[in-house]
Subunit: 481 residues, 4 copies
């Protein structure tokens, strides 16, 4: 049906030609782990490489200093490739060790492989523009530098700012222990602070004069726990108490607050649930004669899967095949497995897929597209992009099976050869699928039709209200208590 064997080879060749530079980029970012919204040095590294490739850079987009867009070409279909580069707190780890050993006490670490993610996506973008040029295909390639995936949802703010509105298709990937098209949906999420204000008094002398904000926080939680029976079982509501009003029991607490995460497979359902939780907060305020201020802290939409794109990407991942791991890769993975991966983590790293996969050291195959669409009980800000433009993602094996996210075991593998190989594969898959889309406009048309049908009467409305800026960029309020 299609005669694009050559093109695939061309794309793969371009990726291979540039790989060394991007491995180095990934390794540099691994070594300067920066937290959400503070990825200034990582962004500088990325921009420098992409500028050298000839991309036009727009920095500080969506009002976020560490968000940027790099563009190449013009007109025609516009291809978006999404990159990330934020690290996680308290995950500092020496590279390539089989045991936990920090570089810098208390420092961050790339426990989710976003050094690879960003560099791999940039590599895909760079290779794609070469391939298009060499084949004379029109169009624009745009790389999105997306901050704060871990905590804050950079893409949601970028989506709110309209940065994805003129895209025709979007690609992303995530470093993983398996090779597969990412075919699951995710949970939409709203994060929201409930801030209660009461009246302080001495708790032994005149408790009847006080109105406890901490009581309100607790009663709200009781109310939410009662609501659980009467909400859909695929939704999630959980909370942290982020301010208890102080450590002194002898004062009735005049201020207290909680941070809620409200999730559902569909954003409108999450919003309906949020409305109920808000009523519970108001009920708790009524009960305690306190007042409550509700402040959205962030939010992400669920992923709208795109079967049309998944199938094209699946063809490509099958044709390219798994990374070519060598003896050394296997040897390290096996030693790590013995030293630091538990039976539990072996199963957890591949769940909910076939448990027999856990017998493998490194994934040497490609998983089939699942017959049935499942919801993964987690959230990503890629969801917001997928409401605006047909979006598809893949996973490639960068780590030993048994490596769980957000662990030092993942950090220690983040710049080893196996990780580089997985990243190269991901760039090839994304670039090849993008090339298919550009060469065959019918794919884009079908993908857009699917998105339209899936959304039905809904259209994208950012779950973060217009006046909310990223929590981490905001000046912290003066301590109230």
């Amino acid at each position: 049906m299609r005669n694009d064997r050559l093109s695939l080879e061309e794309v793969a060749r371009q990726v291979d030609a540039k790989a060394l530079d991007y491995w180095a980029l990934s390794d540099r970012i691994w070594a300067m782990p920066e937290l959400a919204f503070e990825e200034h040095r990582s962004v500088a590294e990325q921009c420098a490489v992409l500028e050298r490739e000839g991309f036009r850079i727009t920095k500080n987009v969506a009002g976020i200093p560490t968000a940027f867009v790099a563009e190449y070409g013009q007109g025609g279909p516009v291809i978006g490739i999404l990159g990330e580069y934020d690290a996680l707190p308290e995950l500092s780890q020496v590279s390539g060790l089989l045991q936990h050993e920090v570089v810098t006490q208390g420092a961050a670490g790339h426990g989710c492989g976003h050094n690879l993610l960003g560099a791999g996506s940039a590599l895909a973008a760079a290779a794609l523009k070469e391939a298009l040029a060499s084949e004379g295909i029109a169009g624009t390639v745009r790389y999105y530098g997306c901050p704060a995936e871990e905590n804050g949802g950079g893409k949601s703010y970028m989506a709110r700012a309209g940065l994805f509105d003129d895209l025709d298709v979007a690609f992303c990937w995530h470093p993983h222990v398996l090779n597969e098209v990412h075919a699951t949906s995710s949970l939409a999420e709203i994060q929201v602070y409930f801030r209660f204000h009461g009246r302080a008094t001495h708790a032994a002398h005149s408790p009847h004069m006080g109105r406890s904000a901490l009581d309100a926080v607790e009663l709200m939680n009781v109310g939410v726990n009662y609501m659980r029976e009467h909400m859909p079982t695929d939704a999630r509501v959980h909370y942290a108490i982020t301010n208890t009003g102080g450590d002194a029991p002898n004062t009735v607490q005049a201020y207290a607050e909680s941070l809620y995460s409200i999730r559902s497979p569909l954003l409108p359902d999450a919003q309906r649930l949020f409305a109920r939780v808000k009523k519970i907060a108001e009920g708790a305020a009524l009960m305690t004669e306190t007042s409550v201020v509700v402040q959205i802290a962030g939010g992400s939409s669920n992923i709208v899967p795109n079967r049309v794109l998944q199938e094209i990407m699946y063809e490509n991942i099958c044709r390219i095949g798994p990374p070519a791991f060598d003896e050394a890769d296997y040897s390290f993975a096996e030693k790590l497995r013995e030293a630091a991966l538990t039976e539990e983590s072996l199963l957890a790293s591949i769940a909910p897929r076939d448990p027999s996969l856990s017998s493998k050291i490194l994934h040497d195959g490609v998983l089939a597209l699942p017959a049935r669409e499942e919801v993964e009980m987690g959230t990503t800000d890629v969801g917001d992009v997928s409401w605006i433009v047909p979006t598809v993602q893949c996973h490639t094996a960068c780590f030993a099976i048994g490596t769980e996210f957000h662990t030092w075991q993942m950090v220690t593998q983040g710049k080893l050869p196996a990780a580089h190989k997985g990243m190269t594969l991901a760039a090839q898959i994304m670039a090849a699928t993008a090339a298919d889309c550009l060469r065959n406009p019918a794919i884009l048309a079908r993908a857009k039709a699917e998105l339209k049908e899936r959304l039905g009467s809904h259209s994208y409305v950012c779950p973060i209200p217009p006046d909310v800026t990223p929590d981490h960029l905001r000046k912290k309020p003066a301590k109230v208590v």
Copy 2:
């Protein structure tokens, strides 16, 4: 200072002269125990006797079939004497036995001595009008037939109807194990139903479609228990769940209700607390997406003590002295003590007074007026009368020390000679104090001034709203569940 020894003798003589008739009245009512608002036969007995005395009877007052007023004389000061006659459920008991033995299974019984209370007050009224007549003193004597003291608060409805508005002073008493002026205040109380309406559904199949009224009842209770820390410690809030929405766990409960009792030493404080409890109910409804209907079931004001009247009454009780119990009275009381009164009940029956009183079999003295005004942690509808007109009460020893209210032990003594003697004493004390008030207008003036001062800026507003009729007279709603 006063030269009324003779009058006291005259009053006492009049009481003695009529006592036999009223003992018989008391005994007849003992034998026909009727529950709150259903005291039709007891009222007929009372009215028959008072009509024979020449009182003008007005029946069915305040819209209550078993409330009546009996009046004698005209103009001048108007003296009110309050009577009661309602019994208690499940207290049927053979008279004069030393062990529990019912007359009729499941029937009511006079476990609070209201047979004596009503007959004793009527005796006081009848004796007073004779004494006044014989001394040529002008004035009106009015006996109030008050239903439903135990459960419903007949006097509160009568007060709401304005029946006590033209009184100059009011008297009441209660059969007891001790002789004393009743000098404590009581708690104002509001009884109120919180009726929650939700949405039923199958609790296993589609719990997310249901909105549980039972959840709302429970969350309201949680809210109230949190409020306890922040309300005055002399207030009381307690509740029963009067409808749980059914016995089937597999249905989300569409209806549920609770009955709250909210009490405080001062009625305005009880009302303030009620407003807070109402907010908690509304909060619980908000939390559960149910609706709540708040319906006052009844209410009584706190007693406003009147020291002026207490002191006059105290003089009279001292001059008349305790009942003249004889050998037989002591013998029965002693046997009952051995057979059926526990150490605990001996102390409870006299608490919180001097525990050494528990060594006595029958009270052969008179307790001193307490130096400090205390609040008794209970409620009576005499409270409403005391907000409108200076009111005073006494206790007289009708029962063996150790007899607790609302027990068969009280019922069994309800028509024995000792009870008759205590009742006669009460009639003498009330009539003598009333006579003092009539002969000495300065007393009434001082008593009224004291009431005015105690109320300050407050004036009587019935705790039961105008549109609420007694719960027990209302047609029961069709069962909702």
Copy 3:
């Protein structure tokens, strides 16, 4: 592959030949609706008919007066066919009306079609024994008269008594709006009373002396609502408060109890959850200084589906086809739809199947076997049988689409011709599938192998402990409060 067309015809013929008698049996039972464990007259009617057919009857089995077994034949494979006959409270309804009109106020009604269920299963048993006899096939046919499916779980007690232990296969059916093999599993359930004992006291006078059993009930519920977040989402826990300790708010409640239903797709998981709920009850008792008595009230196992039997039954239902509804059947169903079936009930009656089915008036087809095994969020005591012996059920269309269970709309159709036709079909399907099993021992072997595999290391243990008798047969305890 199989040459049993003739046999199917023979079975169908036998069913048709006897149908009139069993329609009459069903109609008589419809007209004498009896509640769970009180089905004495219904049992007498059933036994009379089966005795006339030559079945040997054993009454009063498993210690339950309305449970019986009717047996025919001997040796060889033993076929069990399960029947029910209990009605539901408050569902009295005139037959064949288009609007709600009760026969007897407050009376029961066959709102779940168990009049048809029992008669249809008896018809299958009777037809089967004739067919076997005419074909000379050895074996035993056993009809189980099972009481109290709606409330009490008669079959669970019968299973505990070992009555199904020697069966080779069991069949059941349920009257429905659709024709299909019943291929879903159900929830295992444990019903359990938590009875709390505290200490009464006057709630205004001395609340600190009381220990509230009602507090304990409420705190247990709070605890369970907190547990919801941390239990599997496919489990269910719900409750009713069955004794609140009285309607008087002025007494601290000395006794209170709740009835919990704890369900899970697998019985062992339900039992694990029960253990957690029990800890919560103990925690609530600790918190309130009360004591708790835990008493199992009943329980049912989940259904273990049997794919082998489902496929055989599916072949038969396809070959026999849907009931032959005529003009009059359609006409009544259409009028009922207009008069008394809402859009909501149209969808609910067929959920979670394809919503487009709701456009039909009566089901004129047969639904395909679902590809994926689902759990129905409800419970039936057929589950217990299915743990002991391979069990299969079907649904046949007896009622208009849009008719929901436990409604007068179902009662009104319970003896109309359409219901009779659906019942006849069910008897044919069960008898034909049973005949297949008898003729082809390999089916039974495969079915048993499947059951064994599905149970794995588990074996049947009745969820109702040995010392628990049916709640409804027990003498009610004297009222505690």
Copy 4:
């Protein structure tokens, strides 16, 4: 009766002679505000002065670096005088200003006047030893340097170490706005941590695998709020949540803790209540499948008042009279009142005494000994001393009426002349009363007899268990979350 006018004059003279030195000591300590258990420089200042007086100093007593004992004389009756010197956080204030102005941002300040308290008690001790010497009276004078009254209860640890065991009588005072013998009791208190340990998990992905320690903290609080109805109304239970398990809602909290304060007018009742709260904590752990560690953080006994000593002290305070405030003292107080004291604080500073006192600028009288012994709804570690040895305290006017404790308004007045005068008065009252005790052994005998009678069957057991060291001296545990 007594001939000690001269002695009083002698004592007063000795105090006056030394006053300047101790005012300077007080002022130095005011200027180096140190928090609980960190009062190293303040202790050094105190010791230096007392050493110069000839006292023998023992430092680092009871295992606390800032606790010390200074002793003079030997044998005979042993007189204890208690001093304090700890400051409060965040109360830095420039001296003598009429508005709030900090010296050092975030620094501590003497918001409770302990600079005066310590210096005044030391002055009393120094003057007493001179007076005794000049009169040739035998005995020992001992000054106790007591740290951490505000937060930690230094005296309770010192009492536990037996440091007060050989005392015959103890004196203390507190700077105040009024002149009076301190005749109220206080609440005994137990402070205790409840530390819950659960199991973390991802709150969206696998909440059923987690066991929430935060749930346990919340459920414990719910349980305690339910207990409130059933505990004595004069007890107090209040709490702070001191660790919520982290700010991330997406993790089920594996650790959480609360700090409870449990108080009652009598220590044994506080301990009984503590036992109930502990059961509630265990109940919450049971409910959530978490575990709980209960750790006492501190505790103080209630004050056992001593009427014998109060009456002697009252005689002395009457004879000496109020401080001799001059025009300048009044002028400053009046300006402060206008600038910075609200109507509310005027009333609060003298509550619950006669509100008409609020019309005064500085207290120019002496309050009468109250007729009835009241409980002040607060806690002090003087309570522990009062269980061991007859103890008495006074208040003297050091501050303008309307000055509340723990405010900058108190700090600003802490080294003004009025404060010095009040401190001098307190030293005279304590020294004079101590002298009376020494001269008249019968007083000590009667005071001891009263203590014995009040304790009845109880004897002092420190509310802090033997193995608990002061919270503030302990090495903080590594952060668990």
